[in-house]
Each structure stands twice: as structure tokens, then as C-alpha cells.
């Protein structure tokens, strides 16, 4: 049991690597990268060991490994024969700190979900570490980059192994910080640091939900057991028990849902994810496609009973989680159509796929969600790293498909092949990985009485296939449009440079930067990921269902009571054919469009389509809404309004009061002057004017006046509260 009991080593090793790289990296022969690669490699080895041990543990508990190999049906028979043996998670914890009577622990909970996540995170992190050796070669902050990657891996693993929500929160925030550091890796350029800030602040909006949700989990457990705790297993059983009121669980689920929306780029807080593409491409692959953004989905899967009971997922129809996921599927896919930047296409695609996962959780398809998370990590990382390879070797560090790519198929055959594999897997073409996981989501959506989301999923599948075809076509087919290709030399930079200089530099650049295949450090990770993109799906082959058997939570209390996990939908052949058919037609239509077989320029001729396209190009105006309406609304009009009130109303009231009194005074003066009391009248005028000036002075930024208002308000509220109760 070494691998399971010592699983705390898995996050610890990259954490130590972070410290070592930070302290000594610069003086090492390879600037710290070797430490990072070795550490993550070690973590990966340990994760593999843990996965193998976990599978053995399940097999042992489920009536012998020989029988277990025959699949789920036999497994069920064996379970009936020998009694449903619970496969308990491996739990270890130490007291983190104690405050008053509350003891907080730090520990590990190793079960199927954690094992899957550890495998995915360490594998992709390892590949990204290797890939970055070439991709980031010669970067100014190479050492820093590797340190941040190590810290990121460590914090993600900390999040994954957490046995309590508080530790999960710590890991969650740490990955957020690492994401910020890595998106802003090239912070010298303003857009990059802006993007980093945006990502940080947007996810922080969701983190408010996580914080309140985590606090609520403490009290949910307290209601159920009498002793408050952040422990996840206790939370799950508490959420399933009848001792806790539904309202509390609903609020907790809503707060945690906000966290998922922020972290996993769900509508309407998805806008940070495309901007996060400002970071180096390996980071996009690791953080913004495969691991960090699925932290939200992981949270959903981890404390699933809270959502299941909070949102009444078992009832079918519609619920907030499925609705948000479904909207995100369609919004992400629609936005992916109009992007010219290859990484942004992939970013919106990620949003859309994360929408699938959240939707799967929302329709009760727990296994399908986790399975899709598992397969998606491989092909999305594959696609991102492929895009990075294109920009690194093919398009002169540009990501613009329309101006700098095209026709790269013949220059970069390996990148092309792996990219196509990733595309087909993402589109859900039989028999690649994406097919199996997406189909499972759709089948369960239908099975659990969520017909609407079945339709949403099918439309999403069609759109996914079409926009990915567009992306592949623009990047790899057609003519090369880049500035430094062999055909491009004559008409390059005519206006910008003087001819001699241009020729010289272009010749130089053409030698160095003509599109070529990336070297082995880049293509090897691509092929590894392509391998998984092809074969990972077979883990949950119908009637074989290893993934489900091995990694589903088989332990009481909470998960066993959830019917949709215990009895998932069976494989549906018609649905499978339908979804593959839709995906293929999506590919065909997009292909035909770009080959010129379909009428072109629809959006420029048809006003309605044009408006639709403009709507998409502007990202549904959400950024506009956030930046120009909400932020500007707060700092602009409201401030202006307050100023206006201050200037016009308050001042005018005082002025008119003063003037009115003066007018009265003048009137009186004229009338009564003859009677010789002008001194009195002048006095009134002066007093009014002075008091007006005095009152006005109070309005102008004096600290103690504000403090007085504060205390007076407290007094008034407290007094009225006391009187009225």
C-alpha cells in the first residue's frame, strides 16, 4: 500500500522542487528546468503507482481480480455473491492547527477520483515540462517559469488529494496565484499583465462563493453530527442525511456553484479564459485547458451530494447547474467560430467542453463528467501544444490563423497529424476518446430525464466539429499566408522598411524561420497525448466500463445513495450514431465552406447574419458589459451623480436658502430700513450666509465629519432596532 498511503509525497515533491528551483535554479547548468522535470517525473511515477494500487484495491474488494476483468455485469454479480464490499478511500491526516475547541486537519483522501486527477495532472504537467524545455528556451525568466510550473503542479495536487474543504480552498487559491503569475509571464507587454489581472479578479469573484461555501460546509456537518468539520466525507454524508435542512444545502450549493462558474470558465464569468491565452502556450495547455480550469468541475464531483441534494438533480427537468453548463456549451462553441487567433479558438472550445462537464454533473452523470474531464485533458492539451508548436516553428510566434498560418500541413506533418487526432477526438468521432465520454454524457442526459440538455449537447457536438474543422483548415490547409514563407518574400513589408534592409532581414529570417517541423522535445509530448486521445476512451467501453468500475466512489455513505451514479445509463447505439453523424456533418459543412463549395460571404450580405457575427465577434458584449457598463457605471456615472447631487442640489439648497434669506432681508431692509433696524436685518443676512458656508464646509471631504455620520447612523439604526423590537 506504499503508493496509496504515501500519496502525500505526490504534491510534496513538486513543492520542494519549487523551493529548490527558486533558490538554486539560476546557478544550475540547465537553469532549474532539470529539477522541475525530475520532480514532476517522480510525482508522475508515484501517481501511476497509486493508480495501479487503487485498481488492485477495487479488484480485491469486488470479488477477485479474475472475475473483475470480465466487466461491470460480472462485477455486479460478484458483488451480489460476496456482498457489496465498500472500497474505502485511503485516509490520512495530521492536525494542521487547533483553535479553541475546533481541530483543523490537513490530510489526504485517496479514492478513484483523486487517483484519476493525480494521473492526469502529473502526466500533463510532465509533458508540459518537457515541451517547455524547447518552447521556452532562452526566455528571460526561464528559471522563474519552471519554478512557477512546479508550484502550480504542487498546488493542483494539493487540491486534488485534499480530504477537507479548507485544504481544498488553499490549493484552489494557490493555483489561482500560479495562473496569475504564468499568464503574466511576459508582463512587460501591457495586454499580458492586463489579462493576468483580469483572470485573477474574475476568478476571485467566484472564489467569494468558494469561501462562503466552505464556511457553510462546516456548519452543514455541524448540523448533522453536532461537531463542525471541513471533512469532505463527513460533508457528503451530512448533505445526504435528512438532519440538515434543504435550504442550507441549497445555499451552500449555490455558493460553490459560483466558485465553479468562476474557476471553470462557465457563463457568464468565462471572459477571463480567452484572455488568459496571453500566457506562454505550455501554460495554456497545462492550466487553462487540462488542469486548473477543471478544478471547478473537480470540486463539483468531490462534494457532489451537496449539489445533488441542493439542486434536486434527481428530479429531472432543469436545474441551475445543468442550465449554466448547457448555456456555456453553446456560448463557447458559438464564440469559437469567429476567432482568428488559434489559441482563442481552443480557449472557447475549452469553455464549451467545461460546459459539457458541468452540464454532465448537472444532469446527474457523475461518471460521465469525470470521464470527460479525463479524456478532454488529453486531447485539449494535445491541441494546445500543437498550436504552440505551430507558432514556435511555423508562423513566427504568431497565433493568428488568418494572417500567419495556412498550408502548414506539408511543413509540419507531425504537428498536423497530432492536431487532427486531437480535433477528431474533440469533435467526438468514433472511436476516439471524446466520442466515448461525450456520448456517455448525452446518454445519461436522456436517461435522467434531461431531454433539453440532450439536445443542447447534440447541437454542441455539431458546432464543435464545425469550428474545429475551420481551425484545422485555416491553420494547415490552403496557401501559406505567413510573412516568412517561401512564397511570401516578394510582397512582404513593402511599405514599412527600406528595400535593402527588408531583403536582408527576410532572407535571414527565411533561413531561420521558414516553417519547419518542431524538434523532438515538442513532438514527443504531442504524440504521447495523441495516444491517449485515441485510446483513453476505451477505458469506459460499453459493457467493459473499467473507468466506472475502478474510479467511481464505491464507498458509503453519500455517493452510494445517489441513484444516477449507482445506475448510469446504458450505451445507446442510436444516440451514438446520431451524435457522430452530427459531428461528421459539422466537419463536412465547414470543410465545404472553406473549400468554396458553399456560398461565401453570407455574413456580409445578409444583415441578420452580419449582426449575429458582430455579436459573436464582440464576445456577446459581455466584456463590454463588464468593463464599460458595470465598472464604468460604478466609477463614472455614480460618482458623477453623487458629485452632481453634491454640487447642484446640496449647494443650491444652501445657496438658495442663503439667497432667499438675503432677499427677504433685502426686502425687509427696504421696508423697515426707514424705521432704523437695518442692523438687525444685516445680522440675519450675515448669519444665514455664514451658517450656509459653515454647513457647506461640512460637505467637503473632512474625515471626522464622515466618521460622525457613521457613528450617527449606527446610533440611529441601533436605536430604531431597539425601539421596534
Amino acid at each position: 500500500m506504499f503508493f496509496l498511503d504515501k500519496a502525500w509525497l505526490i504534491p510534496l515533491i513538486p513543492a520542494l522542487s519549487f523551493v529548490v528551483i527558486l533558490l538554486f535554479g539560476k546557478r544550475m547548468p540547465r537553469h532549474g528546468s532539470e529539477v522541475g522535470v525530475v520532480a514532476v517525473g517522480a510525482s508522475f511515477a508515484l501517481s501511476c503507482g497509486a493508480a495501479v494500487r487503487w485498481i488492485m484495491r477495487v479488484q480485491d474488494a469486488k470479488g477477485g481480480s479474475a472475475l473483475g476483468a470480465l466487466g461491470r455485469s460480472i462485477g455486479h454479480l460478484g458483488a451480489q455473491g460476496g456482498g457489496e464490499a465498500a472500497v474505502l478511500p485511503v485516509l490520512h491526516h495530521v492536525t494542521w492547527f487547533q483553535n479553541g475547541g475546533v481541530r483543523l486537519t490537513a490530510g489526504i483522501q485517496i479514492d478513484g477520483l483523486a487517483v484519476v486527477m493525480m494521473f492526469v495532472v502529473t502526466l500533463i504537467s510532465l509533458l508540459v515540462h518537457v515541451y517547455s524545455l524547447e518552447y521556452m528556451r532562452g526566455d528571460v525568466r526561464f528559471t522563474y517559469f519552471y519554478a512557477a510550473l512546479s508550484l502550480f503542479t504542487a498546488s493542483m495536487l494539493l487540491l486534488v488529494v485534499a480530504d477537507n474543504t479548507l485544504q481544498l480552498l488553499v490549493g484552489w487559491e494557490l493555483v489561482g496565484v500560479c495562473s496569475f503569475m504564468l499568464i503574466g509571464h511576459w508582463w512587460e507587454e501591457k495586454p499580458n499583465s492586463d489579462a493576468a489581472l483580469k483572470a485573477f479578479l474574475t476568478t476571485r469573484t467566484g472564489d467569494i462563493g468558494l469561501l462562503t461555501g466552505v464556511i457553510m460546509t462546516f456548519f452543514i456537518v455541524q448540523r448533522a453530527t453536532g461537531v463542525g468539520s471541513f471533512n469532505i466525507i463527513e460533508l457528503n454524508s451530512a448533505a445526504s442525511s435528512s438532519k440538515v435542512g434543504h435550504t442550507l444545502i441549497l445555499w451552500c450549493a449555490a455558493a460553490l456553484m459560483l466558485a465553479i462558474v468562476g474557476k471553470s470558465g462557465q457563463f457568464p464569468l468565462h471572459t477571463w479564459l480567452p484572455d488568459a491565452m496571453a500566457g506562454p502556450t505550455p501554460v495554456s495547455a497545462l492550466i487553462h485547458a487540462a488542469t486548473m480550469v477543471v478544478a471547478g468541475v473537480y470540486l463539483g464531483a468531490r462534494v457532489y451530494p451537496v449539489f445533488f441534494h441542493g439542486f434536486s438533480i434527481g428530479d429531472g427537468g432543469i436545474n441551475p447547474m445543468a442550465a449554466i453548463g448547457g448555456i456555456t456549451v453553446l456560448v463557447g462553441a458559438a464564440l469559437a467560430f469567429v476567432q482568428d487567433d488559434i489559441k482563442k479558438v481552443l480557449a472557447y472550445s475549452t469553455i464549451s467542453q467545461l460546459g459539457y462537464m458541468v452540464m454532465a454533473l448537472g444532469v446527474g452523470a457523475w461518471t460521465a463528467a469525470v470521464f470527460h474531464l479525463f479524456t478532454h485533458a488529453f486531447f485539449k492539451a494535445d491541441l494546445f501544444l500543437g498550436a504552440g508548436s505551430v507558432s514556435h516553428s511555423g508562423s513566427h510566434h504568431s497565433f493568428d490563423m488568418k494572417t500567419d498560418m495556412g498550408g502548414l500541413k506539408k511543413y509540419m506533418p507531425q504537428t498536423y497529424k497530432t492536431f487532427v487526432i486531437g480535433t477528431l477526438a474533440l469533435a467526438g468521432i468514433f472511436p476516439l476518446a471524446g466520442f466515448w465520454s461525450k456520448d456517455e454524457i448525452l446518454a445519461n442526459a436522456g436517461h435522467n430525464d434531461y431531454k433539453l440538455f440532450l439536445v443542447v449537447g447534440l447541437i454542441g457536438a455539431f458546432m464543435t466539429a464545425a469550428y474545429m474543422t475551420r481551425c484545422v483548415y485555416l491553420t494547415f490547409h490552403g496557401e501559406y499566408r505567413g510573412a516568412h514563407g517561401p512564397h511570401a518574400i516578394p510582397h512582404v513589408d513593402e511599405a514599412e522598411h527600406d528595400p535593402i534592409d527588408t531583403m536582408a532581414s527576410v532572407e535571414h529570417d527565411a533561413e531561420v524561420h521558414a516553417p519547419h517541423e518542431s524538434n523532438r522535445l515538442i513532438t514527443t509530448p504531442l504524440w504521447v497525448l495523441s495516444f491517449f486521445a485515441v485510446f483513453a476512451g476505451f477505458l469506459n467501453f460499453p459493457h467493459f466500463s473499467k473507468f466506472e468500475k475502478w474510479f467511481d466512489p464505491h464507498f458509503p455513505p453519500a455517493f452510494a445513495e445517489i441513484p444516477t451514479i449507482a445506475h448510469p445509463a446504458a450505451f445507446n447505439v442510436f444516440l451514438a450514431i446520431g451524435s457522430v453523424g452530427l459531428a461528421l456533418s459539422g466537419i463536412a459543412i465547414a470543410w465545404a465552406y472553406y473549400e468554396g463549395l458553399l456560398p461565401q460571404g453570407l455574413s456580409s450580405r445578409n444583415a441578420l447574419l452580419g449582426a449575429g457575427r458582430r455579436f459573436l465577434v464582440n464576445k456577446l458584449y459581455l466584456d463590454y458589459l463588464y468593463e464599460n457598463v458595470i465598472v464604468a457605471g460604478i466609477k463614472g456615472p455614480i460618482a458623477a451623480g453623487v458629485y452632481w447631487v453634491n454640487q447642484n442640489i446640496i449647494d443650491n439648497v444652501l445657496n438658495y436658502a442663503g439667497k432667499g434669506t438675503q432677499a427677504v432681508g433685502r426686502f425687509t431692509y427696504n421696508i423697515i430700513d426707514q424705521k432704523g433696524v437695518d442692523g438687525l436685518v444685516n445680522g440675519i443676512g450675515t448669519i444665514t450666509g455664514d451658517s450656509g458656508a459653515e454647513v457647506r464646509r461640512l460637505q467637503t471631504g473632512r474625515l471626522q465629519f464622515y466618521a460622525l455620520m457613521l457613528v450617527a447612523a449606527v446610533v440611529i439604526f441601533a436605536g430604531s432596532l431597539w425601539i421596534f423590537t
Binding site: 465629519f705 446610533v715 431597539w722
Partner: protein, 166 residues
């Protein structure tokens, strides 16, 4: 019992007068000295309540250190010792009314809530011993204790950074 109540009354009167002195005096140094009266009175009340550890900490930290700090502050900002004009601003009356209302509400609520509750456990359990406090601080409240340590360090560095001339 009566002796305790008399002691309380005397100390409380001194504290109240001292507090009024702090907020009414025209001499900034006198204000600091009135503050000493209030804080020393507070320490005496703590002893009266049988909580002697916090009383001595109050004497050491407040009267020993904080007041000295205040005197330094007065000196460094050349605060007026015999000012011609008042040390109060023109919010005096609104502030006084607000404070009066606040004290009225608080006293009303306190009388309403605890009207005749007596502090008797002192006689039952005996005064709280210093050992008990240290035990609690270094076991149950170790995290807040350490956080406060970090906070003090931060304040120290912050004060140095803010106040140094550069």
C-alpha cells in the same frame, strides 16, 4: 462586598473624570496624563475582577510603552502646549449629542439585558491564575498568538518604513 463596591465606585469616578479630561483638556500633554489615569484605573478594575495578569500587562504595555510613545508623538509633532484656540473642531456639539445618544442606548440595553446579574463565580472558582492563561494561549490559541506576533512584526517594520526620513 461593600468594600469592593466602594473601591469600584472610587476607581470608576476617577476613570470617568480622566476620560472626560482626555477629550476636554486644552493641553495635549495633560491629555496624555489623563489617559494614564484612565488606564491605571482600568488596571485597578481588572485586579478588582481577579484578573491580575491582564492588569499588569496593561500597566506595562499601556502606561509603560504606549504613553511614552504618545509623548514622543506630541513632541515630534510640536503639539501646542498652551494653544490660543481650541483643540476641538466645530463638530463638538453634534459629536457630543451623538456620543450621548450612543451611551444612552448602550446603557439602556445593558440594564435591560443584565439588570441584576452578579459576578459571583469569582468567589466560587477563585481568580483566574496566570498559569491557566498561558496554558490556554499556548495550546488552544496558539494560532492567533502567532498571528499577533506576525502582526506586531509587520507593524514594527511598517512604522519604521513610514516614519523614517528619506
Amino acid at each position: 462586598m461593600i468594600a469592593e463596591n466602594v473601591a469600584f465606585g472610587i476607581i470608576a469616578a476617577a476613570m470617568a473624570l480622566g476620560a472626560i479630561g482626555v477629550v476636554r483638556t486644552k493641553n495635549v500633554v495633560h491629555a496624555a496624563l489623563y489617559l494614564v489615569v484612565v488606564l491605571a484605573g482600568g488596571a485597578a478594575q481588572f485586579i478588582l475582577l481577579g484578573q491580575e495578569f491582564v492588569a499588569w500587562v496593561q500597566v506595562l504595555v499601556y502606561i509603560g510603552a504606549v504613553i511614552v510613545l504618545f509623548l514622543f508623538g506630541i513632541m515630534l509633532t510640536r503639539a501646542p502646549m498652551h494653544p490660543k484656540d481650541s483643540l476641538d473642531n466645530d463638530l463638538r456639539w453634534p459629536a457630543a449629542v451623538t456620543a450621548l445618544f450612543l451611551v444612552g442606548i448602550l446603557v439602556g440595553l445593558l440594564v435591560h439585558t443584565f439588570h441584576a446579574d452578579k459576578i459571583e463565580k469569582l468567589q466560587v472558582n477563585g481568580p483566574v491564575r496566570t498559569g491557566q492563561i498561558t496554558n490556554a494561549i499556548f495550546t488552544s490559541y496558539i494560532i492567533p498568538f502567532e498571528v499577533v506576533g506576525v502582526l506586531l512584526l509587520g507593524a514594527l517594520i511598517g512604522a519604521v518604513v513610514l516614519a523614517r526620513k528619506d
